[in-house]
C-alpha cells in the first residue's frame, strides 16, 4: 500500500517553479498592454470594455479597471495588443494607467520600493492577512495558489496568517460590498502598525465591474492609502509574488 503512495509521489517529481522572479507564464496569458504610439481608439472599441478602462484622448488603458479580457485588442484597427508580461504590480494608483507608446520597461520602472524601515522589518519576513470583501473567489484562489507547492511564496519568508494580530499586511480582494465594509475596517484596525495595505484585482483597486453598483461601500479605500496595487482579473500568482517582492526590494 505504501509503495503505491510512494509511486504516486515519485511520478510527480519536483513541481516547484524554480525561480518565481525570472519565470515566464504561458504565451496565451493576457498581460501588459502594448499600445501603438500613433494609435487611435474608436468609440466602438471603447464601448467594448466591460470595465470602462479605456480612454480616447490620450489613448490609454487603466490597469486598475482592466479585466484583461482582451476585447479591445480583438477589435478592428485596434492599437492595443496584450502581451504575456505578467509583472504588473504598482505602488501608486496613477501608475496603473498605461498610455500609448509606454513600454513594459517604463511601466515596470514606475513601481517603487517600500521605505527603508519597511524593507528592514518585512524584507525577510512578511505575514499577510487576507480579507475577501465581496471577491468572486478567483482572486482568493490565486492568492491561495501563491503558497502551494508550485509557487511556494514561503521560500521568500512571505506567508498568509489566520489572524490580523499576526499580520504585517492586509491584502484586500473584491469590490468591498456595503455588507463587508465594517468587517474590513475592523480587520485593518486589529492589525498592528507598521502595516501594509495591498489591493489585489481590478475589483479591489477600482470596484471593477461592480464600480457602479449601489451595493458597494468603498469608503475604507478613501480613508486609507494602499501601498501595493496588483492588477488583473484575477492576477496570476506570479504577479502577486513579484509585486510584493519588488516592493520589498527583492524583485528584478
Amino acid at each position: 500500500m505504501v509503495f503505491r503512495l510512494l509511486k504516486a509521489r515519485w511520478r510527480h517529481g519536483s513541481q516547484a517553479v524554480p525561480d518565481p522572479i525570472a519565470a515566464q507564464v504561458d504565451p496565451m496569458f493576457r498581460g501588459f498592454p502594448d499600445i501603438a504610439k500613433e494609435g487611435t481608439l474608436s468609440s466602438e472599441t471603447v464601448a467594448l470594455c466591460p470595465g470602462a478602462a479605456l480612454s480616447v484622448n490620450p489613448v490609454a488603458i487603466d490597469l486598475g479597471k482592466c479585466h484583461l479580457c482582451g476585447a479591445c485588442s480583438r477589435a478592428a484597427n485596434s492599437p492595443i495588443r496584450l502581451s504575456s508580461r505578467h509583472h504588473l504590480g504598482q505602488t501608486k494608483r496613477d501608475a496603473l494607467i498605461v498610455t500609448a507608446g509606454t513600454s513594459f520597461e517604463q511601466y515596470h520602472a514606475r513601481a517603487e520600493k517600500g521605505r527603508a524601515e519597511i524593507r528592514r522589518l518585512f524584507g525577510r519576513s512578511l505575514r499577510l492577512r487576507s480579507v475577501s470583501a465581496a471577491g468572486c473567489s478567483a482572486c482568493e484562489m490565486e492568492l491561495n495558489a501563491t503558497t502551494n507547492a508550485n509557487f511556494d511564496m514561503l521560500r521568500y519568508g512571505i506567508d498568509i496568517v489566520a489572524s490580523p494580530r499576526h499580520a504585517d499586511a492586509v491584502i484586500v480582494t473584491g469590490p468591498v460590498s456595503a455588507n463587508m465594509a465594517d468587517a474590513l475596517e475592523d480587520t485593518w484596525s486589529a492589525t498592528p502598525s507598521p502595516k501594509l495595505l495591498i489591493l489585489m484585482g481590478a475589483c479591489a483597486i477600482s470596484g471593477g465591474l461592480f464600480a457602479a453598483s449601489p451595493a458597494l461601500d468603498r469608503r475604507f479605500l478613501s480613508d486609507h492609502t494602499p501601498d501595493i496595487y496588483i492588477p488583473g482579473c484575477p492576477p496570476h500568482p506570479l504577479t502577486v509574488v513579484n509585486a510584493i517582492l519588488n516592493y520589498l526590494g527583492r524583485g528584478i
Partner: protein
C-alpha cells in the same frame, strides 16, 4: 392549462405564461413533488401595470422526461400569501427572497429572515442590523461564532454553531456579506456584452456561469451555435470540473492532515488549470465562452497539450485516489461524518455532486442535456465505486468519492470530445441575434457545483426587465447546515470543504 412545458434553454412569450393563484401554484408544486418533479426556481418580476404588481414565476424540473414546467402567479407588493415551506422545505429560501425583494409575506413561514440583505430590499440593509440569531438554552449549551472574515483565504460569511459540549446541535449560516448587486448589473446595457460579468458571478465556476448566461442570450435571440463551439464549451466545463474537484480533494486531505494527498492533488489541479490557461488565456477558463460560441479554437497543438495533460492526470489521480480511499486513517475521518440522508436531500432540494452523494439522480448533463451533452452523451460511472457498492451514503466519504469518480469521468469525456473535434468544422462562433421582446427564457448548466440557472424576462424593446441567477449553492448551503448536526465542531471544516459552496454565487 395551469403550466407550460419547456425544454432547457427555451424561451416563450411572457404573455403565454399561465396566470394562477399562489394557492393553486402550491397545489401544482405538491403535485409536481408527488410526480417526482423538483422545484428549480421561484422569483418575482416587477410588472409595469398596474404599479406595484409582481409576477411570480415558478419553475419545476422533470428529471425523467427532461422537461421544465413553468407557471406564474400575479401578486401585489406587500401582499400576504400562504407559505409553501411547511409542506415543501425546498421553498424556504425562495419565499424569503420574495419577502426580501417585494415585501410579499409568506404567512406561517417557519423562519422568515432576509436572504442577502440587499441595498434596495424591504428588509434590514446590514447583516447585523437588529437580527436575533436562533438561540438554544441549557446549562451546557454554548455558541461558537465564526466569521465573516475567516481564518483562511476564502470568501466571508458568518457561522454560528449551537453546541452541547463538542457536539453541534445546529448551525446557523448567515450570508449576505458578499452582495454586490450582480443581477441588477445584467440589466444595464446590451445583454450580449455581459460575459465577463457572468464569469464573475462565482469566479470558481466561471465557465459554468458563462455557459448558462450564453445559453440564455442565445435562447432569447433564437440563435444556434456551431457544433464545434459546443464541443469546446463542454471541454471547458469538464476542465473546470476536474480542476476544482482535484483542488477540493486536496483541501479535504489537508483538513485531516493527510499531506501527500494535499500536495499531490494540488499539483494535479495546477496541471489542469495551467492547461486551461494554454487553451484560453485564463487559469479559470475566463474569456472562453461568449454568446454565439467560444472565443478560442482548439488547434492541433492545443489538442495535444490537453490530451497529454488529461492522460497524465487521469492516471496519477486514479493512483493517488486508490491510496487515499484505501487508507484507514482517511476513512475513519470521512465515513459517517456530515451525513445528509436521501430523504432530507430531496426535501431541501440538494443539487450537484452533493445531491448525487446523497443518492439523488440529479445531473443536468444527463437529464436536461444541451450542446455537446445531447449530441454525445456523457456516460458516468458515478454512484458506483470499485466494489460495485453505491457511494450514496451522503457523508463526507460519499461527497469525496463522487468527486474522485467525476474527475475520472470528466477526463475520459474530454478525451472523447477531443476525438470529435475533427468531425466538426463549422467554426467557433455564430452571429447572435438581439433578444426578442416580451420573452421569458431559462438556461440551466451543470457546473462542477451543480445546477446553475440563469433566467431573464425581456420588455417591449427587448431590454432586460429581470435577470435571475440561481447558483447550486442556493439550495446546498442549507444541506451543509444539516450535515454538521450531531457532529463535532472540529469536523466542520471537513464538512464545509466536502460541499465547497459559493458565497458570492449565493449573495449575488
Amino acid at each position: 392549462m395551469d403550466r407550460v412545458l419547456l425544454k432547457n434553454r427555451a424561451a416563450i412569450p411572457f404573455d403565454d405564461l399561465p396566470k394562477i393563484s399562489y394557492q393553486a401554484m402550491g397545489d401544482i408544486a405538491i403535485g409536481c413533488l408527488c410526480a417526482g418533479l423538483r422545484p428549480v426556481a421561484l422569483f418575482g418580476v416587477p410588472e409595469e401595470r398596474p404599479a406595484g404588481a409582481v409576477r411570480i414565476i415558478a419553475l419545476f424540473a422533470d428529471d425523467v422526461k427532461g422537461t421544465l414546467a413553468v407557471t406564474s402567479v400575479h401578486a401585489e407588493r406587500g401582499a400576504t400569501v400562504p407559505s409553501l415551506t411547511p409542506s415543501i422545505p425546498a421553498f424556504h429560501l425562495f419565499e424569503r427572497q420574495l419577502w426580501e425583494e417585494f415585501g410579499i409575506v409568506p404567512q406561517d413561514h417557519p423562519w422568515l429572515k432576509p436572504v442577502r440583505y440587499p441595498h434596495d430590499g424591504h428588509t434590514p440593509r446590514r447583516v447585523e442590523e437588529g437580527y436575533r440569531y436562533f438561540a438554544m438554552n441549557g446549562e451546557e449549551s454554548h455558541e461558537v461564532a465564526v466569521g465573516p472574515v475567516h481564518a483562511g483565504v476564502i470568501e466571508p460569511g458568518h457561522f454560528r454553531f449551537l453546541c452541547d459540549g463538542e457536539r453541534v446541535n445546529h448551525l446557523e449560516i448567515q450570508l449576505g456579506y458578499q452582495h454586490r448587486g450582480a443581477e441588477r448589473l445584467f440589466r444595464t446595457g446590451p445583454l450580449a456584452m455581459k460575459s465577463v460579468l457572468a464569469e464573475s458571478v462565482s469566479g470558481d465556476a466561471a465557465v459554468a456561469h458563462a455557459t448558462a448566461y450564453a445559453g440564455l442570450v442565445e435562447a432569447l435571440g433564437n440563435s444556434a451555435i456551431p457544433r464545434r463551439a459546443a464541443v469546446i464549451r463542454a471541454i471547458g466545463l469538464e476542465l473546470e470540473r476536474a480542476g476544482i474537484h482535484l483542488g477540493d480533494l486536496s483541501a479535504l486531505c489537508n483538513d485531516i492532515g493527510y499531506l501527500p494527498g494535499t500536495q499531490l492533488f494540488a499539483v494535479m489541479r495546477t496541471d489542469i488549470i495551467n492547461t486551461s490557461l494554454a487553451l484560453c488565456g485564463s487559469r479559470f477558463g475566463r474569456g472562453l465562452i461568449a454568446p454565439g460560441g467560444v472565443m478560442h479554437d482548439i488547434d492541433e497543438k492545443k489538442k495535444e497539450r490537453i490530451a497529454s495533460t488529461v492522460r497524465r492526470v487521469r492516471d496519477n489521480a486514479g493512483l493517488l485516489a486508490a491510496s487515499v480511499f484505501d487508507n484507514q486513517n482517511v476513512l475513519a475521518r470521512f465515513e459517517k461524518t456530515g451525513t445528509v440522508d436521501t430523504a432530507t436531500a430531496r426535501a431541501i432540494g440538494l443539487v450537484g455532486p452533493a445531491g448525487r452523494a446523497s443518492g439523488l439522480p440529479c445531473d443536468i448533463r444527463l437529464t436536461h442535456p444541451t450542446d455537446a451533452y445531447s449530441d454525445h452523451p456523457l456516460i458516468k460511472t458515478v454512484l458506483q465505486n470499485g466494489e460495485g457498492k453505491a457511494a450514496i451514503s451522503g457523508d463526507v466519504y460519499a461527497r469525496a468519492f463522487v468527486r474522485h469518480q467525476e474527475i475520472q469521468d470528466s477526463l475520459r469525456y474530454i478525451t472523447e470530445l477531443l476525438g470529435r473535434l475533427d468531425a466538426v468544422q463549422d467554426g467557433i462562433a455564430a452571429p447572435v441575434e438581439r433578444p426578442r421582446a416580451g420573452m421569458v427564457a431559462f438556461s440551466i448548466t451543470e457546473g462542477w457545483r451543480g445546477e446553475t440557472l440563469h433566467a431573464a424576462v425581456t420588455g417591449d424593446q427587448g431590454e432586460t426587465l429581470r435577470y435571475y441567477i440561481k447558483d447550486a449553492s442556493f439550495h446546498n448551503w442549507f444541506g451543509l447546515a444539516l450535515a454538521v448536526r450531531e457532529n463535532g465542531v472540529s469536523d466542520f471544516p471537513l464538512c464545509n470543504k466536502s460541499f465547497n459552496l459559493s458565497y458570492c454565487g449565493f449573495d449575488l
